[in-house]
């Protein structure tokens, strides 16, 4: 046949139905068009109208089609019938499963609610799960933030009332210089790629500051191969250079930050290091016009940075003067820090100079008048087009909170936060720390907690402690060990429950958290803790474990009762302004998931199950006055639940369908969302788009929408007074006193101005014995464990070599196909190696969470994920090595409790190839008892 005669069908039909919902192949929450043929998912593409991804979609998103047919999907509720870890289960009915869970939990609620520990992993429904735990009355609830990126979140909120990713974004449309610090390649996924594309198109400069040159750093114009854990030192040195040269935005600092706020400087005063306030509790600044102290927000005040106040014999100086004194010190000069950062002093100078040049010589102005909170009208919006972004790379260190604080200080000194070309908040942010809840942790039998579990302590009075000073929470969050642990410490729960420190629990209830594998430090030991029995009673030390997951993850084998969840295309969800919404810098946005296909198994969405359990337990809010279930399922809850009158999980189509933000529940709300593409957007007016914390137009818009009930302008915290309150306690002031063994650490680490200290445990001997840093990154095409069960994605990343830099590769005589033993102070692994030149010379790394346990995720036990894939987790202990003082020192940031994954130090040696990676574990049996 001649090809001209070939008749092609150039217009095949995509589908017979297109359903628009929200992706859940990672935490990014893009809009997707799910094309269905005869009810079968035929193709998934990005939704062009969606605020997050605007039509594009990553590899994970498009591979969702294979997720809903994965053989690892759980089929029915399971009850364990063999020993824990054996994988021996029997299928039971939902009635039996829910009755069992209720029978376990109801007595705990009646007698000791803290004996239930409920922790959720990659949970996007925390406003429900948290509320459920609060109504149950246990103090032991958190999601996975403590082992993810709480340092970024907490440092951002404490410093400037918002953080990166979900809470804010670079001004992609206007920035001219972007600094990316240690970014995990999936936080957030598509928006960063789209943003980088825009910068590339405009010729804006991108600088990657990362020990590893992959992904975003690979396309960056410049790469700074920093040594892990030293970003804070680099940033403070940049601050030194900028201060020395006067390249800071004094007008911005005086108006919008606490740089002018007066600080008590008298070491003998009980208020030393605290702010001077007026009779109404308002912060005082010197007014440059009158030379008198005035409230920071007084109309017409011109805050001074140069002059202090002596009152009642006590010297007060503006914060800015302390700050300048500290960072002008030659110990922060590039020459003094360069070697520790693994950089040249010249490169640090050049980076500082480039920041100064772009911020001040390429400043931009928008002709957009606006009015600030002091009532002053501004004719223009001035921007300093330098943007920065960071995630786990700087966060997952034991000095990460202060590093993240330093980064925000740098942004603020340049005047780049909430100004054009810089960093912009996304609603419901900005929101200062004072506007967040305080932690609640006092359990009362049969009663709810008096407020939410997680919050932002402003001083020792907000810690979650018993009268004897012991921690109220099982993870010791909000204790003296990590006072600002705003996301809890999920990585400590199993270890603490096993040790009975601070107390024993009865039931561990987990959702979507692979704690028997890649989400735990020291995986092998955690498995032992989960299976350990009390020799006296013969019972498990952690007596009961309930787990909900959609797939047969490694954790499933260690639970006693499995509540099988649906996949993301079979369920309702809401991505809510009460929780972690999908807003953009110029709009509030929220979204839903809805069942676009019907589950073909006996599984239920976890949130519906939780609502059912809440009703069976008679939790307030989950039952009506006559004890009947208040909600039929999660969809009903999303529609009818009101957190405050008129404020519910979704902002759109309230009341009769025409109200936004505030309004009565609308029974048609979910259908309206579906008809609208699965999301709702509410735009911020032009005059309110920048300077949001101080812009009256934004504040009024936010009140109108119901984000808060009155305008809440505030100042950025260059100096973080709550840290000083903890230091004061450590110095012996106040009623609430830390234990003596923690006093020094609190005094040194909780400095109210950003500092850098070496990662805890990084002493000289350790550095000598374990000279290399070891890191993980997440690949863009895979999200944690979920990707490796995906038939398409596992063909991209089926195993993960350890990447070794040239100098180490040569010194050890490595060749392709070689293996190495990697040893940390805690343990050893034996793994395949690969050479990589674009790598910091003191760093080895691998892709995260590709390694699988044999038999898990319905993969063949001989799958490369299990024979050649590996975890670094085996090398990381949740505790620091014992110091001989009898205390258990957590391997976490001492301020927030953030898991210090990236403090890992190792040494490497070449070994003859073993048949498979070491350590390896016995093959898990298939969860349904049948053949795989």
């Amino acid at each position: 046949m001649r090809h001209q005669d070939i008749i092609l069908d150039l217009s095949p039909k995509l589908s017979d139905q297109t359903a628009k919902t929200t992706c859940y192949m990672c935490a990014c929450r893009c809009g997707i068009n799910v094309h269905l043929k005869d009810g079968r998912v035929a193709y998934i593409e990005g939704n062009r109208d969606h605020p997050v991804n605007k039509g594009v979609l990553c590899a994970k998103g498009a591979a969702g089609i294979m997720q809903v047919t994965a053989p690892s999907r759980l089929r029915a509720p399971l009850r364990r019938v063999g020993p824990r870890g054996s994988g021996q289960f029997e299928e039971i009915s939902w009635d039996e499963a829910l009755a069992t869970a209720t029978a376990w939990m109801a007595p705990l609620r009646a007698t000791a609610p803290e004996k239930l520990a409920f922790f959720t992993g990659r949970d996007q429904s925390q406003s429900l799960t948290g509320w459920w735990a609060q109504q149950f009355g246990t103090p032991n609830y958190a999601a996975h933030g403590g082992f993810c990126s709480v340092n970024m979140a907490a440092a951002g909120i404490y410093t400037m009332g918002g953080a990166f990713w979900e809470f804010g974004q670079p001004d992609w449309e206007r920035t001219k210089l972007l600094l990316l610090f240690g970014v995990a390649e999936d936080h957030d996924s598509n928006p960063i790629k789209m943003g980088l594309g825009k910068l590339k198109e405009r010729g804006a400069r991108v600088i990657g500051i990362n020990p590893i040159r992959t992904g975003y750093s690979a396309v960056a114009d410049d790469w700074i191969a920093i040594t892990p854990g030293t970003d804070g030192l680099l940033i403070l040195s940049l601050i030194h250079c900028l201060l020395t040269a006067g390249k800071i935005d004094l007008d911005y600092l005086a108006r919008y930050t606490n740089a002018p706020v007066l600080l008590n400087e008298d070491p003998s005063s009980p208020d030393h290091g605290l702010f001077l306030r007026d009779a109404n509790g308002k912060l005082l600044v010197m007014d440059r016009t009158t030379g008198k102290p005035m409230a920071f927000d007084a109309a017409g005040v011109k805050p001074d940075l140069a002059h202090g106040l002596r009152r009642a014999g006590i010297t007060h100086r503006p914060v800015f003067q302390l700050l300048a004194e500290r960072y002008l010190d030659p110990s922060y000069a590039p020459e003094a820090v360069a070697e520790r950062c693994g950089l040249s002093a010249k490169r640090i100078h050049a980076l500082a100079a480039e920041l100064a040049r772009v911020a001040f010589d390429e400043a931009i102005e928008i002709d957009q008048p606006w009015t600030d909170f002091r009532g002053e009208r501004h004719e223009k919006m001035t921007g300093r087009p330098v943007a920065m972004h960071a995630m786990r790379g700087i966060s997952a260190h034991s000095n990460g909170f202060q590093i993240a604080r330093a980064l925000h200080l740098l942004q603020i000194l340049l005047g780049t936060v909430e100004t054009p070309g810089g960093f912009r908040f996304k609603p419901p942010y900005p929101k200062p720390p004072e506007a967040h809840p305080k932690p609640h942790a006092t359990a009362t039998p049969g009663q709810p907690l008096k407020g939410p579990h997680l919050g932002y302590p402003m001083g020792p009075e907000h810690l979650a402690l018993h009268p004897d000073g012991s921690p109220q929470r099982i993870d010791k969050a909000f204790s003296w060990e990590n006072p600002l642990s705003a996301h809890g410490l999920m990585h400590m729960v199993i270890a603490n429950a096993h040790a009975g420190d601070p107390y024993k629990i009865d039931t561990l209830f987990l959702y979507m958290a692979n704690m028997a594998w890649n989400s735990s430090m020291s995986t092998g030991r955690v498995i032992e803790m989960l299976t350990d029995k009390d020799p006296e009673t013969g019972e498990y030390v952690i007596p009961r474990i309930i787990y909900s997951d959609a797939y047969s993850s490694e954790m499933v084998a260690y639970a006693d009762l499995i509540l099988p969840d649906t996949t993301y295309l079979e369920r309702h969800d809401c991505i809510s302004l009460l929780d972690r919404p999908i807003s953009e810098a110029d709009a509030a946005a929220d979204a839903i998931r809805w069942p676009v296909i019907e589950a073909d198994r006996d599984v239920r969405g976890f949130q519906s199950v939780l609502i059912d359990l809440g009703a069976r337990l008679g939790l307030p809010g989950f039952v009506t006055d006559d004890g009947a279930p208040a909600f039929t399922d999660y969809a009903d809850y999303i529609t009818r639940h009101e957190r405050r009158p008129g404020i519910g999980p979704l902002m759109g189509f309230r009341g009769a369908g025409d109200q936004t933000g505030r309004g009565a529940p609308n029974p048609d709300q979910l259908q309206r969302y579906i008809d609208n593409g699965g999301f709702f957007t509410h735009h911020i007016p032009q005059a309110a788009q920048y300077y949001k914390p101080w812009n009256t137009a934004y504040q009024d818009w936010a009140v109108d929408l119901g984000l808060y009930d009155s305008p809440q302008p505030y100042l950025f915290n260059l100096y973080l007074e709550p840290l000083r309150r903890f230091q004061r306690a450590a110095e012996g002031h106040g009623d609430r006193q830390p234990p003596d063994h923690l006093r020094d650490r609190i005094r040194t680490t909780m400095d109210p101005l950003p500092i850098w200290y070496p990662p805890l445990g990084d002493d000289a001997q350790t550095a000598q014995d374990f000279p290399l840093h070891a890191l993980t990154q997440r690949p863009m095409a895979m999200y944690h464990s979920w990707g490796s069960q995906n038939a398409w994605l596992r063909q991209i990343h089926g195993h993960n070599p350890l990447y070794v830099p040239t100098n180490i590769w040569v010194a050890h005589g490595f060749a392709d196909g070689d293996w190495a033993r990697l040893t940390s102070p805690h343990g050893s692994i034996t793994v395949p190696v690969a050479h990589m030149a674009a790598l910091n010379p003191n760093t080895v790394w691998t892709w995260n969470a590709i390694g699988k346990r044999k038999g898990a995720w319905a993969l063949d036990p001989a799958a490369p994920e299990a024979t050649k894939g590996f975890l670094l987790n085996h090398l990381i202990h949740e505790l620091l090595p014992p110091k001989g003082d009898g205390h258990r020192w957590s391997n976490s940031d001492p301020i927030t409790g953030q898991a210090a994954w990236f403090d890992l130090r190792v040494r490497i040696e070449k070994v003859s190839p073993p048949p498979e990676v070491q350590p390896n574990f016995p093959t898990l049996a298939p969860p349904h008892g049948g053949t795989r």
Partner: protein, 248 residues
């Protein structure tokens, strides 16, 4: 043996920006998804949950490390699919006429009903851009989404290849490279777009845009004036501060 058209009315193809590609594999999976459901036999997977999973892909991303003699090593992500060559050796080698180049737009396709699965075309292609599907036993290759770009069931804006529509970084562009005024031709001209292995004489239609020079820190200190100290002492700094505030 099969003949090529002497000319084609258009030269549809891709322009791939190696300066912007972050190596995320979005294009790989969008292509797999679309072409499993459309154009000919599905792209099969062998042993998808087993010890040696493998499958047919029409587009793959490779990563190459480049170590220049001076300066830091670099990583380049390199997506590769059929380049729809003007002088396509995969067509001329085909014994049945199954492999052909369309005269209207230059797209190189395989007519699967005539394909005997001999694999000669894959041997002839110097780019390794064709894959034999082990289940269907026919040769699979990039169709430039010929069933999307003219598809009247798609909105106008979606009539682009699946890989282009999905690319998050905007590193992939589609258009008529035979028209010097087209957006893609303009982009190639502006950015120095190049042919892959031009010495082979295959005259690929697809073009690559090179990575921009990296790590170009100024060797001379032209930025030094931006860091000129404002004072020599802490007292001097406070004096500068007072004067600077006065100027605000």
């Amino acid at each position: 043996m099969t003949s090529l058209p002497e000319t084609t009315q258009r030269k549809l193809g891709l322009v791939i920006d190696l300066d912007t590609c972050v190596g995320c594999h979005a294009c790989v999976i969008a292509c797999k998804g679309w072409n499993t459901e459309n154009y000919g036999a599905p792209l099969s997977d062998q042993d998808p949950y087993g010890a040696a999973p493998s499958g047919t892909f029409l587009n793959r991303v490779h990563s190459y490390e480049i170590t220049p003699p001076h300066g830091q090593a670099q990583l380049v992500h390199f997506p590769k699919s059929c380049l729809h060559c003007e002088d396509a050796p995969c067509v001329t080698v085909c014994p049945t006429g199954a492999s052909y180049k369309r005269s209207e737009d230059g797209i190189v396709l395989v007519n699967e009903s005539d394909c005997i699965g001999c694999g000669l075309c894959a041997w002839a292609c110097p780019y390794g851009a064709r894959e034999m599907d082990p289940t269907a036993k026919v040769m699979k290759k990039c169709t430039l989404c010929v069933d999307r770009i003219y598809n009247e069931n798609l909105p106008e804006e979606d009539r682009t290849p699946a890989c282009v529509r999905t690319c998050p970084a905007g590193a992939r562009h589609f258009g008529d490279l035979g028209d010097p005024d087209s957006d893609v031709s303009q982009l190639v001209a502006a950015r120095g777009g190049f042919d892959l292995m031009p010495d082979l004489g295959t005259k690929p239609v697809n073009k690559y845009l090179p990575p921009r020079p990296k790590d170009q820190w100024e060797e001379t200190d032209i930025l030094a004036p931006f860091l000129e100290p404002v004072a020599e002492s802490p007292q001097g700094f406070l004096g500068w501060l007072d004067r600077a505030l006065e100027r605000l």
